[in-house]
Symmetry: C2
Subunit: 253 residues, 2 copies
């Protein structure tokens, strides 16, 4: 059995606003890519190419501007306020994904404008330029409810299945599978974080060995990963929901 292989693309210099990412990725990849390869691109370099840079002094206002719904907030021991919000992309995440690491001094980065469209554009450009049928994911680093630490997950997808739909298939005993929808896009992003690192200049990694997940550019994007609010048992933080209930209970008496 051929192993799944994952490696970081070397030789990507600091990205600046207006840079042509298709050209950067094509140059870094050279002739090393093959049909069915999946490139996982850290959101940070997409944001930089798009010029999504704001002054660090404007960070809180920037988070507010990116927010469509506050899910929960808490004052941390440091005095800083952590806000878990749904952003305009439908992603629930701390600080709306606004990040200060690996950005020029005194600045912070917003998430890319439209990562699904950008992922499709990058995939289309690389397919045309390199003549290989690749898929592209755009990843971001996220905390999780109930589990400490962070993992990388998908915020954009172009020409890659984000879910492996096993509904209707059966297990080794011939019974319908209970776990039915592995989020392979998030698993691919998590996997590539293992070779990218956080401080080195390796913002792009390649996964080879799951060509079955690469397909047409019209495949649904990462936006489809976001759970609808109707299905969301954690659409509001515990303290916020309790306070809302308390106020309603008092008013109802």
């Amino acid at each position: 059995m051929t192993p799944l292989q994952i490696w970081a693309l070397p030789g990507i210099a600091e990205i600046r606003p207006g840079d042509d990412l298709i050209g950067v990725l094509a140059d870094a990849a050279g002739d090393t890519l093959a049909d069915g390869d999946i490139l996982v691109v850290t959101s940070k370099i997409v944001s930089k190419a798009e010029g999504r840079i704001v002054r660090a002094a404007d960070r809180e206002e920037a988070i507010t501007a990116e927010t469509v719904r506050v899910v929960a907030s808490r004052v941390m021991p440091s005095g800083a306020v952590t806000r878990i919000v749904e952003n305009r992309l439908g992603i629930v995440q701390a600080a709306a994904g606004v990040d200060a690491s690996n950005t020029p001094e005194g600045t912070v980065l917003l998430l890319p404008e439209d990562p699904d469209t950008t992922a499709r554009t990058l995939a289309a450009g690389l397919r045309a330029r390199l003549g290989v049928q690749v898929g592209v994911l755009i990843s971001d680093t996220m905390g999780r409810a109930w589990r400490d630490g962070q993992t990388d997950a998908a915020i954009g997808a172009g020409g890659v299945h984000v879910f492996e739909d096993l509904r209707g298939t059966t297990d080794a005993e011939g019974r319908p599978l209970a776990v039915t929808l592995p989020c392979v896009a998030d698993e691919l992003c998590a996997a590539t974080d293992l070779v990218k690192g956080k401080s080195a200049r390796t913002p792009v990694a390649v996964v080879r060995g799951r060509a079955d997940l690469v397909g047409d550019l019209s495949l649904p994007g990462a936006r489809t990963i976001a759970r609808s609010i109707a299905d969301d048992m954690f659409r509001q933080g515990t303290d916020e929901a309790y306070a809302a209930g308390f106020a309603a209970g008092r008013a109802a008496s």
Copy 2:
């Protein structure tokens, strides 16, 4: 740069209660393992070896018995009740991880008794038997708040760092990294789900290329991934917290 490599171990037959997992893994691995390899073992085969099998008719009682705290519950359109609970291992998960896929007809499987201890025992046994310094993770499939689908995550760790602690390190600009604690154990489990599949008999995969994450058997286990309730902004579901607040508000009037 040598790629990270991930492959499933072939040749693992159906596991039965009392089976010697160290022997099964050692036989399946043969002489293919090297120092620094990480084996990711699906919890299901650990549960089977431990005989953690109950009658499907007793599923709801089994979930209740595994639960130390109900976080949220909801009646689904099918009429079934989904319960998100903290189990005796400190893991917040749907149905306390009780699972009906790939089990004998009419039965369901509970999570392993003590996956951190088992992971250490497996790592110690494999190190002794094969003469290679491997690490072992035990994985389970989990849903996520806010994101549809499931990914695999770590519930047991033996001789593997569960976090890559970057606190105190700096980014390419020399500033402290804001994202400080990648949960590499969860990323490794997610990565191996890409080669394991859900219905095939490939419950074990190997990751080669992150030997730096393999260490002493006294390293902290996966239990340390669970967020403490004091830090948990989602320790109770939205509906549950609202209802508790409402009752308290009414009583306080």
